[in-house]
């Protein structure tokens, strides 16, 4: 670990910041590919096409996710899902996939660069989320494998728990990322936090 200056709250360099406690960890979770699937959830052909492309079954229940080989599908709405892969090879060529999904009556949008993901882990993680987000992060209400869209401060954010709480990942639009990161760090500083090197999403 580098000798980061603990007072430079908002730095993305790995190191320890804020108060002395070391129970909280922040890092970027890298995303290679993110595709937004739109379509009729009741359409068997759409579901089959997505299964062929992403090798997973789209989650139909609100606020849930599903996983395939290297791909995670997050429910965004009754007609909208986000396919996320940390490795570009997991999803392949976009234009071909788009044409296939179009043919199946749905839509496929490449949003790979749109969002940046931050993983927050450690016992105070829920409190850090609650500093900016009105969602309920209690394990009874937001368990592993669930996702929800809401806000962090005033910035739209997608929250995802791929493991048991307290772990939580949030995805925010890239243009806001510097601001959200600083907000996260400010919220985390009173209890102290460690920035870790970026690691793949999932």
């Amino acid at each position: 670990m580098s000798e980061a200056d603990p007072t430079t709250i908002g730095s993305t360099a790995p190191g320890h910041y804020g108060s002395a406690s070391t129970a909280l960890f922040l890092r970027e979770a890298t995303i290679a590919t993110a595709w937004n699937v739109h379509g009729d959830a009741g359409s068997a052909s759409l579901r089959a096409e997505v299964q062929r492309i992403a090798r997973l079954v789209l989650p139909m229940a609100a606020n849930t996710t599903s996983k395939g080989e290297g791909v995670t599908a997050l429910w965004l709405g009754p007609q909208s899902w986000l396919l996320v892969a940390a490795d570009a090879a997991a999803l392949g060529d976009f234009a071909g996939a788009r044409d296939a999904v179009n043919a199946a009556g749905g839509a496929l949008f490449d949003v790979s660069a749109s969002r940046i993901a931050y993983a927050v882990d450690g016992a105070p993680a829920a409190a850090i989320m609650a500093a900016g987000c009105p969602l309920d992060f209690h394990p009874r209400h937001f368990g592993a494998g669930q996702c929800r869209q809401s806000l962090y401060g005033r910035v739209p954010a997608l929250f995802y728990r791929h493991r048991e709480p307290p772990d939580c990942t949030m995805l925010v639009a890239r243009s806001f990322a510097h601001d959200v990161w600083r907000s996260l760090c400010t919220a985390a500083a009173p209890c102290g936090y460690t920035v870790r090197a970026a690691a793949p999403f999932g």
């Binding site: 007072t7 709250i9 804020g18 108060s19 937004n36 739109h38 379509g39 007609q79 909208s80 234009a95 788009r98 044409d99 179009n102 009556g105 749905g106 839509a107 496929l108 949008f109 490449d110 949003v111 790979s112 660069a113 749109s114 969002r115 409190a127 609650a130 500093a131 900016g132 987000c133 009105p134 969602l135 309920d136 209690h138 009874r140 209400h141 401060g153 005033r154 910035v155 639009a173 890239r174 243009s175 806001f176 510097h178 601001d179 959200v180 600083r182 907000s183 400010t186 919220a187 500083a189 009173p190 102290g192």
Partner: protein
């Protein structure tokens, strides 16, 4: 002076450590656990402030949030805070406080002249006195002096050095108040498995029983409290929030809490917020906020040394402080006897208990014990007048049956007129109150939101009843939140105390002119209430506004019920008929910084950065706000002004080539079989003819026919389109399209998603643009292969890397131009590659200012200045775009006569004949004519055109298209500018558009 009034034992203060503090410059000592008020009393200091209107000397009256008098200014440099309640400010080492509302000193205050002149200042004196002579001029003259005389304390002058945080929280049961009822409720709710938040305004839980002599479950309260708190703290689903006030109750059980994280310290520790605002969404609320004691009005009832009896008891039992040496108690209920016994046991001489009730009512346990201890009790009597100047020196007692007054010397008067449950939050929740005749006060009744009151807040005043009420409320709350009770568990128990009835008594008649205070903080007297009633103020809300009863920082916590009872008596109606004033948040004052939280200063709003943001900053750009985005205004070179930089950049685009960051444009992708039909319906022009690989300019209207937004839409594949919007309307257009697709036309097979965040975009403009582009992209960009309005994918070489890119041949500047879109993650590499490729051709980055100049030279309209919500497409010279072959949003109302009138304001270009066109100028025919001068139009955009060497502008002008060639005046009275302008077509450069098609 070393704590002359501190008891040797008792209370929750830590006598092993001392803390130094100062008040009005004098040094004192106290102990950890003290409030500023208890520490002052321990040093024999009662006089702590001057009253608001009459500048009368005032002392500490309460021991909590209801304090009307002991408001001090905390001196902490930029952290100074006025109106701090000494009764709630924890003592810390080095605390420095000052009294307020006095000059030159607390003991000698010039403003006290107001007290002598008080016949001139009855209720409503503002409204009466300053109405004459009529007219605002005189009011302004008075106002200056009045404003200086009024007000308590002073606001900090420097920026707040602290930071504040917000926290959202969810719970099944929120318990407000950590006294015996709240602790019992939290305990039983937690036992059911509910998620519980327990908050209390004090540093420690326990409320009124902290330091008290009672026994709970056969043990001292301290051990019961400790066991209870330990048990709750060990439960992961319980959040304990001491030093936290529930200040507001909002819709759907949202409760606002203020946690004073660091107010008990000289300054917050590193990284720690001073205060934290909690937004708690509770399944159900248990309101265990206790009760507030009320006074009885008699002449001189505001002299320092006069306290509520419960407060005197708290200072003895909780803080180990003797608030006086010789006390007289004045009461109409049993609770004051507890205070009397406590004072008596602490060595204070209780000279008399004047009890308004007859002997027959004094059968309760506490009166009997007082009698047994030899305390003189005077049934059926009252204080009629207090003596003293800066401290009470004695009181005159009378028998309510008649007879002469008898003076008793004392330095402490303890008053109890009964107790009012702290129903503020219950009322804020829209809960209804009912009047209880036995307690002579309002109690919680029914509430539409999920809230239950418990303990003293619910009208229970016996400790055993308080504990069992809280215990039961916890189970009820948990059950209503869906948690079944485990095996029955007994409520904590306390010895039952027999209590006699209360006798309602609000005031004691006084001789004419004597002041009997109802509301100490606002100096409202019994006579003021009577005057208001005589003058026709029959509603309690009007009484409040007329007399200021119940205003100020304490919001009448001690005086309100007394005031409305007096009004009821004046009006001859029952108290419930008069009712209470509306309780509104906040319960106690809230620091504005806490409400703002993180959103202050540079973080007032979130900001958006494009992928090229750092490049702009590194290259000297002055950044500008565009909505939430930061955009480069211009790139001034050393020694160059911003205007010169923008002119240089704009000129370079016309002569060579420039690159501008347009990532902020809204980008929406559309897919589906019906996209062309959808575009036909939302744009004024036709889209079913757009071929794959082509783009087109489009204009959207609102339903009322006015221009809403403009941009281009490209067809990327048979079923895949990309729409761009203006930067400012990106969110609105997306929302508009989603509304149409989901609500109005769900039958259309169209899917839309915003891809603004996916693509970084730059516009390469100028005669050299093609030459620059050809060196970096993988496709043929000749005019034949990639003509005007072509769209295509390619690769862009950035060093050794090949970046996937999308090219658009479109122009905003009017020059040969291309837009280059790449995924945001490649934005900076693309930008640097194009800048490097352009270097041999003289490329310069240009900012929004040059971009604006270029578009004004071309007469392009923008949303805001020209499309200002009042202009149609025809007004802006785009009437021909409106397709006659189809309808679209906004078209049905375009046919209205006013929108087709030839007199409408139409877009024109202006060239200054002499001088510079003024910002926001109005167009008139003759500025010399007599006012009012008819306004013919206004300047919507203006700039210095470095390419024309002229001051030019765009304007909306009545019958503008028919006025080309006319000379008018652009005037700005604000800037004292009048400039002759020549009217012409809006496009100044290359009206045929040849440059962009080469």
């Amino acid at each position: 002076m070393t704590q002359s009034h501190r008891l040797a034992a008792g209370g929750i203060v830590d006598r092993s450590r001392t803390l130094d503090f100062s008040f009005d410059g004098a040094a004192y000592q106290g102990h950890p656990g003290d409030m500023l008020a208890s520490a002052l009393l321990a040093n024999g200091v009662h006089l702590v402030g001057r009253s608001f209107k009459y500048h009368r000397p005032r002392g500490i009256v309460t021991a909590g949030a209801d304090e009307p008098n002991a408001l001090v200014q905390l001196a902490r440099g930029a952290r100074t805070e006025p109106n701090t309640r000494a009764t709630q400010q924890e003592l810390y080492q080095g605390l420095a406080a000052a009294s307020q509302n006095r000059w030159p000193s607390l003991r000698f205050d010039v403003g006290a002249l107001n007290d002598v002149l008080s016949p001139l200042f009855p209720a409503g004196f503002y409204y009466k006195t300053f109405m004459w002579p009529p007219g605002p001029r005189w009011w302004l003259k008075y106002e200056h002096a009045i404003r200086r005389a009024a007000g308590l304390g002073h606001a900090p002058r420097n920026p707040d050095p602290d930071h504040y945080q917000h926290r959202h929280a969810h719970c099944d049961v929120l318990v407000i108040g950590g006294g015996p009822a709240g602790l019992a409720a939290a305990q039983s709710a937690a036992r059911c498995g509910a998620r519980v938040i327990l908050c209390d305004e004090n540093a420690a839980f326990g409320g009124s029983v902290r330091g008290a002599a009672d026994a709970i479950d056969g043990a001292p309260p301290a051990s019961w409290i400790a066991a209870c708190v330990d048990q709750l703290a060990a439960n992961g689903d319980v959040t304990l929030l001491p030093r936290t006030t529930a200040f507001g109750y909002y819709d759907q059980n949202l409760v606002g809490l203020i946690e004073r994280v660091a107010d008990h310290l000289p300054e917050p520790p590193p990284f720690t917020p001073r205060q934290r605002l909690w937004h708690v969404r509770a399944g159900i609320v248990v309101l265990a906020s206790g009760a507030l004691e009320r006074g009885i009005a008699y002449a001189g009832n505001d002299l320092p040394g006069t306290m509520l009896a419960g407060a005197a008891q708290a200072y003895v039992s909780r803080y180990g402080v003797k608030p006086g040496t010789r006390a007289v108690i004045f009461a109409n209920n049993d609770s004051a006897y507890g205070a009397a016994l406590q004072l008596h046991n602490a060595g204070v001489t209780v000279a008399a208990i004047a009890d308004a009730r007859p002997q027959a009512a004094l059968f309760g346990d506490h009166p009997q014990r007082a009698r047994a201890d030899g305390i003189p009790i005077l049934p059926g009597s009252a204080i009629v007048r207090a003596h003293g100047r800066l401290r009470v020196a004695g009181v005159d007692l009378v028998s309510l049956g008649g007879g002469a007054a008898r003076r008793i010397d004392c330095d402490l008067v303890c008053v109890s007129g009964g107790w009012n449950p702290a129903v503020h939050l219950y009322s804020q929740s829209r809960g209804k109150l009912r009047y209880d005749d036995a307690l002579a006060t309002f109690l919680p009744d029914v509430a539409p939101q999920a809230i239950v009151a418990a303990g003293a807040a619910n009208g229970k005043f016996d400790l055993g009843a308080i504990l069992s009420d809280g215990h039961a409320a916890g189970f009820v709350a948990a059950a209503r939140a869906g948690f079944a009770a485990p095996a029955r568990h007994a409520a904590p128990a306390a010895d039952a105390v027999s209590t006699g009835p209360l006798l309602p008594l609000w005031s004691v008649p006084a001789r004419r002119g004597a002041k009997c205070f109802v509301d100490w903080q606002n100096d409202v007297t019994v006579a003021d209430v009577a005057l208001a009633a005589r003058e026709g103020y029959r509603s309690v809300e009007h009484l409040k506004r007329y007399t200021t009863l119940g205003m100020g920082t304490d919001q009448g916590k001690t005086g309100n019920i007394v005031g409305l009872a007096l009004l009821a008596a004046e009006l001859g109606v029952a108290i419930p008929r008069v009712g209470t004033t509306t309780f509104r948040p906040p319960y106690t004052p809230v620091t504005l910084g806490t409400l703002a939280g993180h959103e202050a200063g540079a973080d007032l709003e979130p900001t958006r950065h494009s992928a090229m943001h750092d490049w702009h900053v590194e290259h000297g750009a002055r950044m500008l706000n565009a909505g939430l985005w930061k955009r480069p205004h211009s790139y001034p070179r050393p020694g160059e002004s911003e205007d010169d930089a923008a002119n240089r950049e704009a000129k370079n685009v016309r002569n060579r080539v420039g690159l501008v960051d347009v990532s902020t444009l809204g980008k929406i992708e559309l897919q589906g079989r019906d996209v062309a039909e959808f575009l036909n319906r939302v744009y004024i022009n036709r889209w079913d003819t757009l071929a794959v690989g082509r783009c087109r300019y489009g204009v959207m209207l609102r339903d009322d026919g006015m221009v809403f937004d403009d941009g281009t839409t490209s067809r990327l594949s048979a079923t895949h389109y990309l729409m761009t919007t203006t930067t400012l309307n990106a969110v609105n257009v997306m929302q508009h399209l989603e509304y149409l697709l989901q609500v109005e036309w769900p039958e259309l097979d169209v899917f839309a998603t915003s891809v603004t965040e996916q693509w970084a975009a730059a516009a390469l403009s100028g005669p050299m643009a093609r030459k620059v582009l050809a060196t970096v992209v993988s496709i043929d960009v000749s005019n034949a292969a990639f003509p005007f309005l072509a769209v295509g994918d390619c690769e862009l070489a950035a060093g050794k890397a090949r970046i996937p890119a999308r090219l658009f041949r479109m122009s905003y500047s009017g020059e040969l131009a291309y837009e280059i879109h790449v995924p945001v993650t490649h934005g900076r590499a693309m930008w640097e590659a194009v800048m490097a490729a352009g270097e041999p051709f003289g490329i310069m980055a240009y900012g929004t200012e040059a971009m604006s100049t270029l578009r004004i030279e071309k007469g392009h309209v923008v949303v805001g200045p020209e499309a200002d919500g009042r202009t149609t497409a025809d007004d802006l010279g785009m009437g021909k775009l409106v397709s006659s072959a189809k309808s679209c949003i906004g078209k049905p109302l375009l046919a209205r006569p006013a929108l087709t009138s030839p007199d409408r304001w139409q877009l024109v270009g202006l060239t200054a004949i002499d001088g510079m066109i003024p910002r926001g100028g109005k167009l008139v025919a003759d500025p010399g004519q007599a006012a009012p001068i008819p306004m013919l139009g206004h300047v919507s955009s203006w700039c210095w055109s470095p390419n024309l060497d002229a001051s030019i502008g765009l304007a909306l002008l009545e019958r503008g298209r028919a006025r080309h060639g006319e000379t008018l005046w652009a005037v700005s009275p604000l800037a004292d500018a009048r400039v002759r302008v020549r009217v012409g077509p809006p496009c100044f450069i290359d009206p045929e558009g040849e440059r962009l098609r080469v």
